[in-house]
Amino acid sequence: MTAVGTATSRQLPVAVTSPVAVWFEDGWTVTKRNLVKIKRSPDMLVFAVLQPIMFVLLFSQVYGGAIQVRGTDYTQFLMAGIFAQTVVFGATFSGSAMAQDLKEGLIDRFRTLPMSASAVLVGRTNSDLVLNGISMVIMMLTGLAVGWRVQSAPHEFLAGVALLLLFSYAFSWVMALLGMSVKTPEVINNASFMILFPLTFISNAFVPSETMPLVLRVFAEWNPVSSLVQAARELFGNVGSAPVPDVWTMQHPVLTVLVGIAVMLVVFVPWAVNKYTRISAK
């Protein structure tokens, strides 16, 4: 019986040896594994897609009629907010998926293989980027159906999409680190709801911050989600003649978001990889 043989037959030869090739091979292998999951568990995709559709319809059709925004139509105002909310919540999936893999022992399996240390996280954040991209496309189509229009040049539109996705990618690393730090996957879902729900709602995503009481208004104006929303609104040409708060981060939202993305990547990529190299299932 030589097929199973271990010590008697020699170890199989390693075909991929250069560190760069190994890095790509490992990252791609894990990404592919995660994408297969999206394909085979459509409930996940349905949830990721239905929720934003629901939000678009709920806000534009149910609340929209009663909300007046100075200087622009509510549906034009709303869509950037929904995009931002979706990419923020979409990133939390990286956290719960890491926690799930850890719990099921898959991280232990990966960690006993001679893989590149960042591969599991690279694969995770890559595949979640794809998932977010898909839900972004669906949301845009829904938005177009309810009357949303891009009123900027094509390159600005693409820049807006890229900015939203880049933000979700960077935020995925933050959530992945959290996912490796909690005891059960459920904690991530609950905690992210508790933190991200107020963060997205006490912002300019769904209503202008100018009507809020002072404390909430200051919070909303400095809220990073507001900058993301404002940046998307500018790049999609949806600001209209609505007034912009006289706060630096709101006056320069694109730059603010880019700096935020850079900071998240510089801090959390190495931190998360480092954390990964020392975790193991309980």
Binding site: M1, T2, A3, V4, G5, T6, A7, T8, S9, R10, Q11, L12, P13, V14, A15, V16, T17, V22, E25, D26, T29, R33, V36, K37, R40, S41, E104, G105, L106, D108, R109, F110, R111, T112, L113, P114, M115, A119, R278, S280, A281, K282
Partner: protein, 379 residues
């Protein structure tokens, strides 16, 4: 030098109830081509030992090498020569059996073609064709465990770590997995396995290291360990419990120490110096007195006896370093506690029967976990 060498390993975990010394100066040496079992209750440090040796956990102190490579200093090199199968089958539920194995091959950097060929080969050898092309989700625990074990073998590693390979499996799947492991051993693999099943260590391992409280308290072959407890025991089971006094008297006449009796008052046993002749004499005496016997025999001490002797307590777990769930540990506790003669010999018989039935393998595998079919296909 042995292929696995560990010396003075220490690891302390913080917990709510204070520090837990999962490893307290553990020494271990496993020669190439042998099977060593780490035997101990939950919380003894078995899983932590495996985690240190498989680069998952960095020890606080001590050294460990696999094939001369320091596991702490060079974890990547260590990972290239080991295969690991954990306590909970770590397979991706959304991937098919084939995809799981192919992925592992790719991550060992075997290249696409070799990874696929190897996956296909293992699917055949492990009789996994049923799970080969369908997502693992929905397959039995035994099937998952086989895929996980196959995953550990993807690149023909020199050293295999099997952490409680049969925990949670039904007896049938367990026998099937034993068959597979025996096949690997026959091929000359070096295997370090952990178990809390005493008969599993007895069945599979050349060498047994008994672990308690984070260090090895005894190491040797099953026979050597049993010899530490003493020789044979003569055990009789009566038809009528009323004959108990007569049986006790007869046993005491030829035995050493106290007569142990079972809870139902029908089974009596005693340690003896010369097993066969003592058994003959006991039977002769009982026959003369006209006492009807349900069963009578001689048995070697089991590892249950060994564990009791070495540790002063039966093989129950306090589950401190997270070796297993509390519920399971409690369940095992009750079972392990019942070390009376009837229970132990009954279980030993069960294992014998399982062993005897396997080589025959007469019955065709109606289920995926059929013991006979699997062990044969590996041999």
């Amino acid at each position: 030098m042995a292929i696995i060498e560990a010396s003075g390993l220490t690891k302390t975990y913080r917990s709510k109830s204070g520090p837990v010394h999962a490893l307290a100066g553990l020494d271990l040496s496993v020669p190439e081509g042998t099977v060593t079992a780490l035997l101990g209750p939950n919380g003894a440090g078995k899983t932590t030992t495996v985690k240190v040796l498989t680069t998952l956990v960095v020890p606080d102190g001590g050294t460990a090498t696999i094939d001369g490579v320091d596991v702490v200093a060079d974890p990547q090199a260590t990972r290239r020569s080991i295969g690991v199968s954990g306590q909970y089958a770590a397979v991706d539920e959304n991937l098919t059996g084939f995809e799981n194995l192919e992925m592992i091959g790719r991550l060992y950097h075997l290249g696409r073609r070799t990874a696929r060929d190897r996956a296909r080969e293992l699917i055949d050898v492990f009789d996994l064709s049923e799970a080969g092309d369908r997502p693992v989700k929905g397959f039995s625990g035994g099937m998952r465990r086989r895929i996980d074990l196959a995953g550990a073998l993807v690149m023909n590693p020199r050293v295999l770590f099997l952490d409680e390979p049969t925990t949670g499996l039904d007896p049938r799947s367990r026998l099937a997995l034993w068959g597979i492991i025996e096949g690997l051993v026959a091929d000359g693999a070096t295997v370090l396995l952990t178990t809390q099943y005493l008969e599993e260590a007895d069945q599979l391992a050349d060498d047994i290291a008994v672990i308690d409280d984070g260090h090895v308290i005894a190491q040797g072959t099953a026979d050597q360990l049993k010899a530490q407890v003493g020789g044979h025991r003569v055990v009789v089971t009566l038809v009528d419990p009323a004959d108990g006094d007569a049986a006790t008297t007869a046993l005491r006449r030829y035995g050493v120490g106290d007569v142990e009796s079972s809870g139902d008052g029908r089974t009596f046993g005693i340690a003896v110096e010369a097993g066969p002749s003592a058994l003959q004499r006991v039977l002769a005496d009982l026959g003369e007195a006209g006492i009807a016997l349900h069963d009578a025999g001689m048995r070697r001490p089991t590892l249950d006896d060994v564990f009791l002797r070495l540790t002063g307590h039966v093989a129950t777990g306090d589950d401190e370093d997270g070796d297993g769930g509390p519920a399971r540990s409690r369940r095992r506790g009750r079972r392990g506690g019942a070390t009376d003669a009837a229970d132990t010999s009954g279980r030993a018989d069960g294992a014998e029967a399982g062993r005897a039935s396997r080589p025959g393998g007469g019955d065709p595998p109606d289920g995926a976990d059929a013991a006979g079919a699997t062990s044969e296909s590996v041999r």
